[in-house]
Amino acid sequence: MDSLVGFVGKNYVLMAGDTNAGRSIMRLKDDFDKLVQVDSHKILAKSGEIGDGNQFCNLIIRNVSLYRINNETELTTKSVAHYTRRQLATAIRKNPYSVNLLLGGYDKKDQMGSLYYLDYLGSSKKINYGAHGYAALFVGSILDRFWKEDLDFEEGLELMKKCLREVEKRLIIGTRCFVIKMINSDGISVVEKVMINSEKKNEIEEEN
């Protein structure tokens, strides 16, 4: 039910998630942000059970902060991905967290963005583009077709909106509202909070 999409561009990472929070057939909240900030240059996008997502992401964020306080240095995206994967893997056979994650981050050292795909089973892979949830079915092929290395920001945003338009069009569950965030050398910024209405001939209303 949760849709998360992310890809890497030229010195930035673009991530989007839907903003629905619900219980069985009912939508309880339509401005629920699933892209949580880990530190100044990393986002953890969570999908799956709300409770597990909240608690697990809190665990990761607090431990990353603790590392920063203890060692006066920020962790790289790769380290956070490995740490997160390990936490998921050790929990799987005792008290599994049913959360699927996309970790996006920008490292000042390497001056490039990276994206990691993490699974509730404890798998982790560095990817250029990916998605979680039902969106993955629709968006996978679009990204295979249109993603290329070093997309600049306008091209990237257009590609992201193409993906979200497809999710809104084909997913029978109403997912119109998304939030798009970007991570680059300046940090995390909310690009847009979009409400997509594919009936209006591919017009996209921006709500802010």
Binding site: L28, K29, I50, G51, Q55
Partner: protein, 288 residues
């Protein structure tokens, strides 16, 4: 949360003196009887021993048992009720019904589904009555202790987070809690939805229970931030009335509460069926 293995391991390593009453109370450990094989004894009580011997793959088995327990619990935990709450400019309105059902039998028409946590916070009850009542009363105790220790009133966000963490640690035990924590603190009127699967959501209006879709219909149609107090109370009452009319698991009496900076107040307590016909009469009069 201790796992069974680790606590019992600690007990087995300790000496006889460690089983004194005072030590166990302060270290909060499992008290075991002074017998030959305490681990086996404990397992026999819980009922895993026989099956463990039969089944070689222990992990697979533990997983199965957990799922079975969850399924059994889920069947019982049907949230036959309607509760709603919303925040607006002047405070928080809470409206609940008062019917308790066990299957198709109406067990009671006068259940208290709103539990006071302190003088400015209320919690609503949906799902398993016992679970909700216990955990909300427990939350009340924790909030009281917080206020005594820190000499300041606890915020609604903190109280809801405490309950959320407790319920999250019991998330595979088959509890059924769908509670809303509503209150008024330094940030203004606040409303949180807390679930037994561990979710905690903050929003300006929620409705929980089997009659919630019906209540949402009326609530969403009439809700605005700048309602007057009378309009807000009327909206809450009408929404529950609509839900009791449509949903057979909701009914009894409709109780409405209001929370503002002075604390919570019970506004009204009307019979659901009578209220419906009163509204009808009113509308007929207005048409004339």
């Amino acid at each position: 949360m201790f796992t069974l293995g680790s606590v019992l391991d600690n007990e087995l390593k300790s000496t006889v003196e460690d089983f004194s009453f005072e030590t166990n109370f302060s270290t909060n450990q499992l008290m075991l009887p002074n017998i030959e094989k305490p681990f086996e004894f404990a397992q026999s009580i819980i009922g895993l021993e026989k099956d463990l011997q039969e089944n070689e793959n222990q992990l697979m088995f533990h997983q199965q048992k957990k799922e079975e327990r969850k399924e059994r619990a889920l069947i019982k935990g049907y949230k036959g009720t309607t509760t709603l709450a919303f925040i607006y400019e002047k405070g928080t309105v809470i409206a609940v019904d008062s019917r308790a059902t066990s299957g198709q039998y109406i067990a009671s028409q006068s259940v208290q589904k709103v539990v006071p946590i302190n003088s400015y916070m209320l919690g609503t009850l949906a799902g398993g009555a016992a679970d909700c009542q216990f955990f909300l009363a427990h939350l009340g105790r924790i909030c009281n202790l917080y206020e005594l220790r820190n000499n300041e009133t606890i915020s609604v966000a903190a109280a809801s987070k405490l309950l959320n963490n407790i319920l999250y640690s019991y998330r595979n035990y088959g509890l059924s809690v769908g509670s809303m924590i509503c209150g008024y603190d330094t940030r203004g009127p606040q409303l949180y939805y807390i679930d037994s699967d561990g979710s905690r959501l903050k929003n300006s209006l929620f409705s929980v229970g089997s009659g919630s879709p019906f209540a949402y219909g009326v609530l969403d149609a009439g809700y605005r931030w700048d309602l007057s107090k009378e309009e807000a109370l009327d909206l809450g009452r009408r929404a529950i009335c609509a839900a009791t009319f449509k949903d057979s698991y909701s009914g009894g009496t409709i109780k409405v509460y209001h929370i503002d900076e002075n604390g919570w107040v019970k506004i009204s307590d009307d019979d659901a069926s009578e209220l419906w016909y009163e509204y009808e009469k009113k509308e007929k009069k207005e048409k004339k």
